[in-house]
């Protein structure tokens, strides 16, 4: 009997323990939820994924860009509709006659979100950080158009030895690597050719002439064996393009010799070396509010670039403080909501991974009076259906994507108006593989793609067929198109038949088809996704029916597909390219022979030369013609098969003002506001009449009417 009593006691303890556990779970869930509660922000947008980082120097994606445009501001700001540069951190600027020197005058009233004034030196420091190898910024190259900036990005980590103006050596314990300080103008612009007098594997003596720059000769500071590294053709003769070679030679030195160089003051170490190299870079803060930038070539899009997020300034003091306090974790610490200091219209208030960023208006922002939203939430949700549900129930005010299967129904709505933007969908062709090395075969393949069917039956959002690389809507540029039957006037079907006819003739001319060689099966690679598969099926079907060419569809997971593309292990591969800034060069420079994004095996010296000449051209109209000449080559040679130009897929509350569809699909939160009923009615009428809101005064469309009035007062 006592045993039973004891059992009873144990049992009740057990059940109460179980109850307690359940209670604790429920309580835990409750308290967690309680902490997570947030009042709805003035404006909620969905960003299509968690951002990689909030550090402007360390991100490259569209979602990251959206957040950074709210938190930071560059020297210029994009006009919400035309994307023309408007004054941002810089109040004004001058461009020298040859287009190579930019002088920016910063706003004296510019402040950081903690009240610190923002100086030109902050911008200089931030750009130096972007270029610095330790930052490992993917977008460091956005600044490589600045004099000597590229060399700074590659500068040796530990020690370096200056040989002569523009030439230096990276010194490691036993190896010296000779580098060049590019681009010094005299080397590039019709200056004397650079000649290497060293054959890989060859021994040389101290004093041997190694490099010749025009009349100047450079002798080896040490003797040793020359080891080639990134050397031009094996003879080592002929001009060397400093852009193509980061390192030219490697050789060995004894520690005695290094000591000697140190004694002569030519061996620089660590920060000394870094400073010496930075002194050559064409970025200089002249005084508190003046920044001067020297470019290698006139770069017409440089002004736009200064409004692009990699070039946003970051707050030096908070970075350095974080570094001092947490030598191990400072790279993350300074970005935490409690530490992050920014200079844009909004400041970071809260951050929850994979959930949301809560931003608050930055009271120190120079234009804060005209920023309408007090709080903004940026959600990380990425699922098509989820986003639409959130939008339809009013939890989110702007989503950037629509479920593809619902597009026809969404098109009937007033808040879904896809607009072309600067992105292209195309196929890359591996021109190193026969029969695709034959231009006629590639042209035949390009001609027999039914672009109209793809645009109207598959993607369905009003995408436009493309016959070149550069997308429709590129400002100030007349696109080059591959030769095809005209669509205008007649029926696209008839024109497509004519194109297929020509394609068959081209194949026959190349010796394939009936009575000729067998073309063999073509592998069509795409990254796993229904949308890409549907398009690939239309393309493959067209090739089979119109050309008798068999195509096999191969899908690979995203990262594997990228690797396959880089390794040139494919026949034809789905591709796309989206503009960083509105300039045709953004697309065309991808396919220069040495470009790391080329991925087709195609190169053409004539093409590279047009691109190079366009880079040096100061006159915008002539430059556009030069770029067009390059595109003409591209659409004749066709290492790519153009398909269509992208459209934006935004669903936006009709009441949201300051939101304009534009060619870069950029929408700066600074300009957003909620319309009152009257304005909403007017904008609806204007839209029904088929026109955008008509421009009035200088700031028209830029600011909410109420705020604009307030600012006038």
């Amino acid at each position: 009997m006592p045993v039973v009593v004891a059992m009873r006691g144990v049992r009740s303890r057990r059940s109460s323990a179980a109850l307690l556990l359940l209670g604790a779970l429920a309580l835990g869930a409750w308290s967690l939820v309680g902490k997570a509660r947030l009042v709805r922000a003035d404006f909620v947008m969905a960003n299509g994924g968690e951002v990689t980082s909030l550090d402007p120097a360390r991100v490259t994606g569209v979602p990251e860009g959206r957040v950074l445009y709210a938190l930071f501001e560059g020297l210029v700001v994009k006009h919400p509709q035309t994307l023309e540069p408007l004054p941002g951190m810089a109040r004004s600027w001058e461009i020298s006659e040859d287009g190579r020197r930019y002088t920016f005058h910063l706003r004296p009233e510019a402040r950081w979100s903690n009240g610190d004034p923002l100086f030109a030196s902050d911008v200089e420091w931030s750009w130096r950080r972007l270029l610095h190898p330790d930052t490992a910024a993917e977008y460091a190259y956005q600044l490589w158009g600045v004099v000597a900036a590229r060399a700074f990005s590659h500068h040796p980590r530990d020690r370096g030895l200056f040989l002569e103006q523009g030439l230096w050596v990276e010194a490691r314990a036993d190896t010296l690597r000779l580098g060049l300080q590019p681009p010094s103008p005299e080397l590039l612009d019709g200056g004397p050719p650079l000649v290497l007098r060293c054959t890989p594997g060859e021994s040389f003596e101290r004093g041997d002439v190694l490099i010749q720059v025009g009349e100047r000769e450079l002798s080896a500071p040490f003797s040793g064996r020359c080891r080639a590294h990134n050397l031009p053709p094996p003879t080592g003769e002929g001009p060397v393009d400093p852009y193509a070679a980061d390192w030219l030679l490697e050789w060995e030195a004894s520690s005695d010799e290094l000591e000697q160089a140190r004694a002569q003051g030519r061996l620089l170490e660590g920060s000394e070396l870094e400073q010496a190299l930075w002194d050559r870079v064409g970025i200089r803060a002249l005084d508190e509010h003046t920044l001067v930038v020297d470019l290698v070539h006139p770069t017409p899009y440089f002004l736009q670039l200064t409004g692009y997020y990699p070039l946003f300034p970051v707050h030096r003091r908070s970075l350095e403080e974080a570094r001092r306090r947490n030598p191990k974790t400072w790279r993350r610490q300074w970005l935490a909501p409690e530490n992050l200091v920014t200079n844009g219209p909004f400041a970071l208030y809260e951050r929850r991974i994979n959930d949301r960023l809560r931003l608050r208006k930055n009271p120190y922002y120079w234009d804060a009076d005209r920023v309408a939203m007090d709080t903004i939430d940026i959600l990380a949700a990425d699922n098509y259906g989820t986003l639409l549900n959130l939008y339809l129930t009013g939890e989110v005010d702007w989503i950037d994507r629509a479920p593809p299967n619902l597009v026809p129904r969404l098109l009937e709505r007033e808040d879904f108006r896809p607009t072309p933007y600067l992105g292209v969908y195309f196929y890359r062709v591996n021109v190193t593989r026969p029969p695709l090395d034959d231009r006629r075969v590639r042209t035949a393949l390009a001609l027999s793609i039914d672009r109209e069917a793809i645009c109207e039956k598959i993607v369905k959002k009003g995408e436009q067929p493309n016959w070149g690389l550069v997308p429709h809507g590129m400002p100030g540029y007349r696109r080059a198109e591959m030769k095809h039957a005209p669509r205008k006037g007649g029926s696209p079907r008839v024109a497509f038949e004519a194109d297929c006819e020509r394609a068959r003739a081209l194949l026959a001319e190349a010796g394939f088809g009936p009575g000729g060689k067998e073309l063999g099966e073509i592998e069509l690679l795409y990254n796993t996704s229904e949308a890409h598969r549907d398009i690939a099926e239309v393309v493959a079907d067209g090739w089979r029916r119109h050309l008798g060419v068999d195509a096999r569809l191969v899908n690979q997971e995203w990262k594997v597909y990228l690797d396959t593309q880089v390794q040139l292990d494919y026949d034809v591969s789905r591709s796309s390219w989206i503009a960083d800034y509105a300039d045709p060069n953004n697309f065309l420079s991808v396919f220069v022979g040495s470009g790391e994004n080329n991925r087709t095996g195609w190169s053409d010296p004539a093409y590279d030369e047009w691109i190079e000449r366009a880079a040096r051209e100061a006159d915008p109209a002539r430059r556009a013609e030069l770029l067009r000449a390059a595109e003409e080559i591209l659409v004749r040679e066709l290492p790519i098969l153009p398909i269509y130009t992208y459209v934006s897929t935004n669903l936006v509350k009709p009441r949201l003002g300051g939101f304009h569809e534009n060619v870069q699909d950029d929408h700066l939160p600074k300009f957003l506001y909620w319309m009152d009923d009257e304005e909403l009615e007017r904008s609806r009428q204007a839209r029904a009449a088929g026109s955008q809101v008509s421009p009035g005064g200088p700031d028209s469309g830029l600011y909410p009417p109420a705020a604009a009035r307030g600012a006038e007062r």
């Binding site: 359940l22 869930a29 939820v33 509660r37 990689t52 993917e138 993350r332 959930d355």
Partner: protein, 328 residues
């Protein structure tokens, strides 16, 4: 008991080591890397990035650095060529490293932020799965073959057969759009947990219901139950004291691994309802080649499965006095 604990701990350490090692090398053998993207990096930039994350080291060194406890980077011990500022690091010291994809966070921080959310959602799902599943199972077993039993079994079969995203869609349509009672997605209040909790727990509830019913029927046919009834014990005591405990054994052994799955979150449910839990990291980290995050969630999952199975073993001894831990 002590010997049992010791043995379990040793096995746990061994299992964890094996999981870490295998997944480390598996992960690295997959094509594509964390920094590959549509835009290739300039070789110099790529080299800088790889140096930052030590991807330029030989694989064995990366593995040892990841495993710990010695920190092998430039701040490591002086006899390893470092500066000696930071001697320890790696999994053995509890550091799961910085995430490759979410660069502002360490894997520890990501798990610390997302796991409680998954736990909260999982608790709700588990709670309703056990309560509803258990009670319908018992109800079903009382009159096998009856109308109620048939109806409940139909529901249970449907619950097992229907994928949870279908259930989620139906719930959203009904409660989100038709009745406008509950939010369709998001995170921030208890009401955000209701629909995903139900959707996540539904298949489990159905399964538990079937397990309970079978267990009950089996237990009710036992001799000691007949004896109890013959003794004239009231039916509710027969059920609660003599039947239920035995009948719940299979449920409990199912609950261990199920709870590990449910508590670490579900990719599908978390995406549909935009819940910032750990579930999405299991798949996305592998797709992103986020080596450290992927390893981190694998380690987390291993630990949870092991820990919960251990709890299940402990529960056995409470439910069935014939089971002793020493024999386990």
């Amino acid at each position: 008991m002590r010997r049992f604990l010791l043995r379990r701990t040793l096995w746990f350490a061994l299992t964890l080591w094996a999981v870490i090692t295998v997944s480390f090398f598996l992960m690295r053998s997959v094509r594509g890397g964390p920094f590959s993207s549509e835009r290739s990096l300039h070789p110099a930039v790529e080299a800088n990035l790889e140096a930052r994350y030590h991807l330029d080291w030989p694989l064995w060194k990366q593995y040892l650095h990841y495993l710990g406890p010695l920190n092998l980077d430039e701040q490591g011990a002086t006899w390893l060529g470092g500066s000696g500022e930071d001697l320890w690091g790696g999994v053995l010291t509890g550091e799961l490293g910085p995430s490759f994809k979410y660069r502002d966070f360490t894997v520890n921080e990501i798990i610390a932020q997302s796991l409680p959310i998954s736990l909260a959602l999982g608790s709700v799902a588990l709670l309703w799965a056990v309560l509803v599943g258990g009670s319908t199972g018992i109800l079903s077993s009382l009159r096998p073959g009856g109308r109620l039993d048939l109806g409940l079994r139909l529901f249970a079969t449907a619950g097992v057969a229907l994928p949870n995203f279908v259930i989620a869609g139906a719930l959203i349509l009904l409660f989100g759009f038709q009745l406008e009672l509950l939010p369709v997605a998001g995170w921030g209040s208890f009401s955000h947990l209701v629909l995903p909790g139900i959707a996540l727990g539904a298949p489990f509830a159905a399964y538990i219901s079937r397990l309970t019913r079978t267990g009950m029927l089996e237990a009710l046919a036992q001799d000691h139950v007949r004896t109890a009834r013959a003794k004239g014990l009231p039916e509710h005591l027969v059920l609660s004291r003599h039947t239920l405990r035995g009948a719940l054994l299979p449920v409990v052994s199912y609950l261990g691994p199920a709870a590990a799955g449910i508590l670490t979150g579900s990719l599908v449910i978390e995406r549909i309802f935009a819940i910032p839990g750990t579930g999405s990291h299991f798949v996305n980290s592998a797709l992103n080649r986020d080596y450290t995050l992927s390893m981190g969630v694998t380690i987390l999952y291993t630990t949870l499965v092991y820990g919960l199975n251990f709890l299940v073993d402990l529960t056995y001894t409470l439910l069935d006095p014939r089971i002793r831990l020493e024999e386990a």
